[in-house]
């Protein structure tokens, strides 16, 4: 599903944000990405979503080499990936419902399908009752859940989350992790970047550790080795 082969990212500033990263994730696998601030977690997720391009090496998603995806095809490529951001990235002048429905509108779903799927996704994150609210009236945790609903509404096979629980209390963080867990159970590949080592360890999934752009730890390999 995800395959990094000697992948490196050097920003125009000359800084090597990622250096020769190798790992592989199977469909339906869940992994946490951790490391100090500036280690390259966000950069790694950006390479997967083609927000940035690899400088060297290869990133293969669903059998597709990202360096071969032309700019014009990037939107279609991204429709298969649900992305959840630390800062939610919601549209504040639209209702919760409209925010969640947006990916379906973009991909040209018929209106009835949009209504059905949007409500199902909102129900999934427990916000069906707030569908007519504006994001500004929601709490941080609720906004994050709107972001999750939007990320899954288009049935992506891959879910990326960049510090989704960054500023939430432990209980809320735990709840959100449970939502991810549910998606993994139905076959979605989930990758979550997080600082919260305590919680990550409790959840017991694979952990990838980055340090200064290099992958210095991978619990999956540790298990095998």
């Amino acid at each position: 599903m995800i395959q990094f082969l000697q992948a490196s990212k050097r920003y125009p500033s000359g800084h090597d944000a990622l250096l020769n990263v190798n790992f592989e994730m199977q469909q339906g696998e869940m992994a946490f990405l951790t490391g100090h601030s500036g280690a390259g977690k966000s950069t790694l997720l950006k390479l997967i979503a083609l927000i940035e391009r690899t400088s060297r090496g290869q990133v293969i998603i669903n059998g597709e080499n990202t360096s071969k995806v032309k700019a014009r095809r990037i939107p279609y490529f991204r429709r298969n990936i649900g992305i959840i951001f630390q800062d939610h990235q919601l549209l504040f002048d639209r209702t919760v419902y409209d925010n969640v429905a947006l990916p379906l509108i973009i991909s040209g779903q018929p209106p009835r399908e949009i209504a059905r799927r949007t409500r199902a996704a909102l129900d999934k994150v427990g916000l069906l009752k707030r569908e007519k609210s504006y994001p500004i009236t929601l709490s941080g945790g609720e906004q994050q859940r709107v972001g999750i609903a939007r990320a899954v509404v288009n049935k992506p096979s891959l879910l990326l989350a960049d510090e989704p629980t960054g500023n939430l209390d432990p209980e809320l963080s735990w709840e959100i992790m449970q939502v991810f867990e549910q998606f993994r159970q139905v076959g979605v590949t989930v990758m979550v970047a997080s600082h919260d080592l305590d919680m990550i360890k409790k959840l017991g999934h694979r952990i990838l550790v980055l340090k200064d752009g290099q992958l210095i730890g991978d619990t999956a390999q540790a298990d095998q080795g």
């Binding site: 979503a49 927000i51 014009r72 939107p75 279609y76 490529f77 991204r78 429709r79 992305i83 990235q89 919601l90 549209l91 947006l102 990916p103 509108i105 973009i106 991909s107 040209g108 779903q109 018929p110 209106p111 399908e113 059905r116 799927r117 199902a120 996704a121 129900d123 999934k124 994150v125 427990g126 939007r150 899954v152 509404v153 288009n154 049935k155 709840e175 449970q178 939502v179 549910q182 998606f183 159970q185 139905v186």
Partner: protein, 327 residues
């Protein structure tokens, strides 16, 4: 959030791809929604929107109004051209018989519709009546007015060059002393109107470019204001076409509303002018009244201004959308 997860997720995921008919219908429905949504967005800031639209309207009303006035002038003077006549002043010693013979000859020419013979006596009579120089003329021994043939050209030969050519040709008869083309000043007027018409076209082109820039700049600001939204839409798989669409429709609405304002302004100006113009025409015993814009002009203005709105936004979107990428 009690997980009956599988079931709910199944609900989220399962569904066959929509059929082609549904896809097409959805596509048009979406276009219609964006079409009216962008109008709704504009109405949320009616003052800003009307200011921009008014700039477009005034810029387009100026050449349009001038064009309408010019075509009024052309219509009015068109009647004068039909009245173009060529006067042939005959040499003093020409007899009446010779003159009538020449008149017959000229009448047979293709270019000529009518020839009228005016003897020198009759000419003198008319001159007296017109001017009242009765006593002054009595002081003269001889009748100073020559016999005249007034030639009315056939309507098919009624443009400036052909009249000129005909006048020249008629001047070659040996009895003819002097040829006078009565319509020379009309021709000059037409030449001036041609220049004015060219001027209006040039003005129209320059103001159209102005409109293009105004719309382009307005859309550029709109794009910058929605930068965050564009980034988000790109992140969740929105194509350039999808992102472009609302801005193009916004340009359409600016063009449409601007064109509408232009039409209203021209109508209003013509209405305000029609009173004085009719008063003036009355002084000349003329029935002339200002013609309003015809339907063709109205449609042309609307099409043109919508075209300018669309192109202006197209240029802005092409230049600025590419710069906005998620980081």
């Amino acid at each position: 959030m009690k997980p009956s997860a599988d079931q709910l997720f199944e609900d989220v995921t399962s569904r066959d791809k929509p059929g082609i008919a549904t896809s097409i219908r959805t596509y048009f429905l979406r276009h219609a929604q964006v079409f009216f949504y962008s109008l709704g967005q504009l109405w949320r800031t009616p003052f800003a929107m009307l200011m921009t639209a008014a700039v477009i309207g005034i810029a387009l009303a100026l050449p349009t109004g001038m064009h309408v006035l010019l075509s009024n002038a052309q219509q009015l003077s068109g009647g004068w051209e039909g009245a173009a006549k060529i006067s042939l002043y005959l040499k003093q010693k020409t007899t009446e018989a010779q003159a009538k013979k020449l008149a017959n000859k000229i009448h047979k020419l293709d270019e000529v519709a009518e020839v009228e013979y005016i003897s020198s006596e009759k000419g003198l009579e008319e001159f007296k009546q017109r001017t009242g120089y009765d006593t002054a003329l009595k002081a003269l021994d001889d009748n100073p007015i020559p016999a005249t043939l007034v030639v009315t050209p056939d309507l098919r030969f009624n443009n400036a060059e052909q009249l000129e050519a005909l006048a020249k040709q008629l001047g070659k008869y040996k009895q003819v002393d002097l040829v006078q083309l009565d319509s020379e000043w009309v021709q000059r007027l037409f030449a001036i109107m041609d220049i004015v018409s060219q001027g209006i076209v040039i003005l129209g082109i320059m103001l159209s470019i102005g409109v293009l820039l105004v719309v382009g700049n307005t859309i550029r600001l709109a794009i910058q204001n929605r930068r965050d939204e564009i980034v988000i839409v790109k992140l969740i798989g929105g194509t350039d076409a999808f992102i472009r669409r609302p801005f193009l429709y916004t340009g359409f609405w600016y063009g449409f509303i601007g064109g509408f304002i232009a039409i209203v302004l021209v109508f209003l100006s013509l209405y305000l002018m029609s009173g004085p113009v009719e008063d003036l025409a009355g002084l000349y015993q003329s029935q002339f009244a200002l013609h309003k814009m015809d339907f063709g002009t109205i449609i042309t203005i609307l099409v043109l201004s919508i075209g300018l709105g669309l192109s202006g936004s197209w240029i802005a979107v092409g230049r600025h959308l590419r710069e906005i990428e998620p980081r």
